[in-house]
């Protein structure tokens, strides 16, 4: 029943899921009117689980003070949640604690409830095994808290009480969890597992039965149900109730991770009843699978045992031999894999995978087809190996980010050089001064024109306003008058023409004054626009002179180099950690297989001895 005791631990992956499904986002069931673009962009990355980009966007918005009041309040909590999802639980915890230390304006309708934040702190502490801190954080949650995470908080309270051995209090907290909540099922499972670990089989099974009965039928519920049924089956075997055990095992689905344990248990439950044929069916199914799990190894030993019990010793002998060969082969494979982890290139051992996404722990084959695949699969079922591998993949992804940062900073260096060159021609090359001179010359001409217009109006000089054609005619007339001076006939005609033109000027005067004034006003407006552009240019020049990009670029460049060096060091440590964790597990597996090999060889020798005794000596 050692396995049952192990399953009584809090379900850490479930806790992580709870934390990842962070709830300070506007709505998961439909968008609201966008209130803050930066916040919206953060959520766009967050919902795609691209926490690196989401955190970059959010922290940049915070740094630039570009969040409105509502989102500024929520931002820290969101940052905490995303930091957690990005594997920075210590930083997340620090954010939550700091957030909770500030004066929260609980009267605001949009304020994030502090109870929820305290729950995150409690969960993080619980995950890290800090029970005292967990208790302290839980005590800060209002006992009347009925928010979205109320069930989860009662689950955690119950788990803490269970750890203390206070079953009554744990059960009391469990009663406060809603019937339909998955947390209720987890609580019941933990209660059952704890009682089973203490050998209280009847009570344990009662809790496991609740998990089976009360589940809601979703994927998570079904998985937990399989787990409870398996645990209940083993508890029933321990209690000597083999029929009940067989029934429990038979309800476990065959396409789940629990199937192997259930098949093994099913075989034992039939075997204990003396139904070795039924036991063989279950064990054979398990032995035929490609799995190298502990259950499969046990099944390979259990099959010949069943044949022995049935009195078919020749088949038993053959199956022991097959088992011994299989264990021998697996042992060689384990030893080879250990040698690879000990001194091989880790990239080759794990397969050169650079595309591990954020969800690389999804139940898919993440390793390439390599000879050590069965051992890698076994390792991947171990929590600490998963964590170590995740760390390495995170470091590789960070290496990618830093390489990209290097390329981006080089682009900025070039952009800064180009801009400096352009500015040099604008500021140092007197382009701005030349523009200013041209503007001033235009201004002078417009002013002069305005004065002349004003003066002509005062004089009533209608001819001054003549348009281009009329001015040309006046010029012709004046020229003709000068040439024909003294010729009376011609002078008379010229006077007549002049009179007509004066009449025309007089007629057109109001229109021409209006047109001229309008044209002048337009010119003045254009000059004003030009003046505004000049002011803008001056402002841009002033701003540019204030901004010093080169020192910032240089600073970031140095930080990239420094972090790349640090990364190398940490990556080396991470590789060593993976090797250490893998070797520890493989060593255990090697010992287990050696033991199984020894048992099978011993059984072979025993059967040979038994056969020999039948021969007359």
């Amino acid at each position: 029943m050692k396995r049952l005791a192990a399953t009584a631990r809090p379900v850490i992956p479930r806790l992580m899921l709870g934390l990842i499904s962070f709830a300070v986002v506007p709505s998961l069931h439909g968008a609201e009117t966008v209130q803050s673009l930066r916040y919206g962009v953060t959520l766009f990355h967050f919902f795609q689980q691209d926490y690196f980009q989401a955190l970059t966007e959010l922290t940049a918005a915070q740094q630039l003070d570009q969040l409105d009041d509502v989102h500024a309040d929520k931002a820290e909590l969101l940052r905490g949640g995303m930091s957690l999802s990005y594997g920075m639980d210590r930083i997340a915890e620090a954010i939550f604690v700091e957030y909770l230390a500030t004066d929260l304006d609980s009267s605001r309708a949009d304020a994030v409830d502090s109870d929820r934040a305290w729950l995150y702190v409690a969960k993080l502490a619980w995950q890290r095994g800090d029970e005292e801190k967990t208790r302290r954080a839980l005590s800060r949650i209002d006992s009347r808290y009925q928010g979205a995470l109320a069930d989860e908080s009662n689950y955690l309270r119950a788990s803490v009480s269970l750890r203390d051995g206070n079953y009554e209090l744990a059960a009391d907290f469990g009663e406060h969890i809603h019937q339909q909540s998955i947390w209720r099922s987890y609580h019941n499972y933990n209660m059952g597992a704890r009682r089973a670990a203490e050998g209280d089989w009847e009570v344990a099974n009662a809790f496991f039965d609740r998990v089976e009965r009360e589940g809601q039928g979703n994927t998570e519920d079904l998985l937990l149900r399989d787990k409870a049924l398996t645990a209940s089956g083993y508890a029933s075997i321990a209690a000597g109730n083999f029929n009940a055990a067989a029934e429990k095992f038979s309800k476990v689905r065959l396409d789940t991770p629990l199937a192997e344990r259930a098949l093994l248990g099913s075989g034992w439950s039939h075997s204990e009843r003396g139904d070795y044929q039924a036991a063989l069916s279950a064990w054979q199914l398990l032995a035929d699978s490609v799995s190298h799990s502990q259950s499969a190894v046990e099944a390979q030993l259990a099959i010949p045992y069943a044949y022995e019990q049935l009195g078919i010793e020749d088949v038993a002998l053959e199956r022991y031999r097959q088992a011994a060969d299989a264990f021998d082969g697996q042992l060689s494979s384990v030893n080879e894999t250990m040698a690879l982890f000990d001194s091989g290139d880790l990239v080759e051992v794990l397969g050169a995978r650079q595309d591990w996404g954020q969800e690389w722990l999804a139940p898919v084959d993440i390793f390439p087809l390599v000879p050590q695949m069965p051992q890698l699969r076994h390792l991947l079922t171990r929590h600490d190996f998963q964590i170590a591998l995740r760390e390495l993949s995170d470091l590789d992804r960070m290496g990618g980010h830093l390489s990209q940062a290097r390329v981006r900073i080089e682009t900025l260096v070039q952009a800064d050089i180009d801009q400096q060159r352009i500015w040099a021609t604008i500021v140092d090359g007197n382009q701005r001064d030349l523009l200013s001179q041209r503007y001033e010359a235009l201004q002078v001409r417009v002013d002069r024109l305005r004065d002349e217009l004003s003066s002509a109006r005062e004089r009533g000089d209608e001819r001054w306003f003549a348009d281009f054609d009329q001015a040309a005619r006046w010029w012709l007339l004046d020229s003709a008058r000068a040439r024909l001076q003294g010729q009376l006939d011609s002078e008379g005609k010229i006077d007549l023409y002049a009179g007509l033109m004066i009449w025309d000027d007089s007629e057109q005067y109001p229109l021409r004054v209006w047109e001229m004034s309008k044209a002048l006003d337009e010119q003045v407006q254009l000059l004003e626009i030009t003046q505004q552009s000049m002011k803008r240019l001056d402002k841009v020049i002033a701003n540019h002179q204030q901004r010093e990009f080169s020192s910032r670029i240089s600073d970031i460049d140095k930080r990239i180099s420094s972090q790349q060096q640090q990364l190398q060091t940490v990556r080396l440590a991470s590789e060593q950690n993976i090797r250490k964790v893998a070797l520890a597990h493989l060593e255990t597996r090697s010992q287990y297989l050696s033991q199984a090999l020894g048992q099978s060889r011993l059984a072979i020798a025993r059967l040979y001895d038994r056969g020999s005794s039948e021969v007359a000596r």
Partner: protein, 169 residues
């Protein structure tokens, strides 16, 4: 036999305990490095924006989706003053993020002060799963200071049709 197993387990437990201590400090180092890389990326992001897209010329165009029952977005083509500046195809995952309230930064660029024409063409599936293509346009007066536009796709319950609009922030 039982003694051997117990001894092995004890040795293993000690091994794992030692590994846990190392893993603890490694975990801390990884988290610190992650935080530093994030801070670096943030500073680089801000610097890029200030250097390449200064506020006096900056134009940023965002896209948001409200519900999205009457229109399943496939792609957006953005044209400014007759020039296509971006043509973006959305993945299912991105669409899901938009439906849940995310906002996509579709375009970030520079623009001179003055009047400009912005045209967005949306393609996707409309009501009853039919191919749907609609455009929306706006005349934009770019003044000093960064200009932010939001392309909005909204479900109109009254007309049972999607509506497309551009909001100036």
């Amino acid at each position: 036999m039982m003694t051997t197993i117990k001894t092995c387990l004890l040795v293993l437990a000690l091994l794992l305990a030692a590994a846990a201590v190392d893993a603890e400090s490694l975990d801390q180092s990884v988290q610190t490095l992650k935080q530093q890389t994030l801070e670096l990326n943030r500073d680089l992001f801000i610097l890029e924006e200030e250097l390449l897209f200064p506020s006096n010329t900056q134009l940023a165009v965002f896209l948001s989706l409200d519900l999205g029952e009457f229109f399943a977005l496939d792609a957006v083509k953005l044209t400014i003053d007759g020039t296509v500046v971006t043509h973006y195809l959305y993945t299912d995952r991105q669409l899901d993020a938009l439906v849940r309230g995310g906002v996509h930064r579709l375009y970030l660029g520079n623009m001179k002060a003055g009047e400009h024409e912005v045209v967005a063409v949306f393609t996707g599936k409309g009501p009853q799963g039919r191919d749907y293509r609609r455009a929306t346009q706006m005349q934009l007066q770019k003044t000093q200071g960064a200009k932010h536009l939001e392309l909005k796709i909204i479900d109109s319950v009254a007309s049972q049709q999607p509506e497309f609009a551009i909001k100036e922030w």
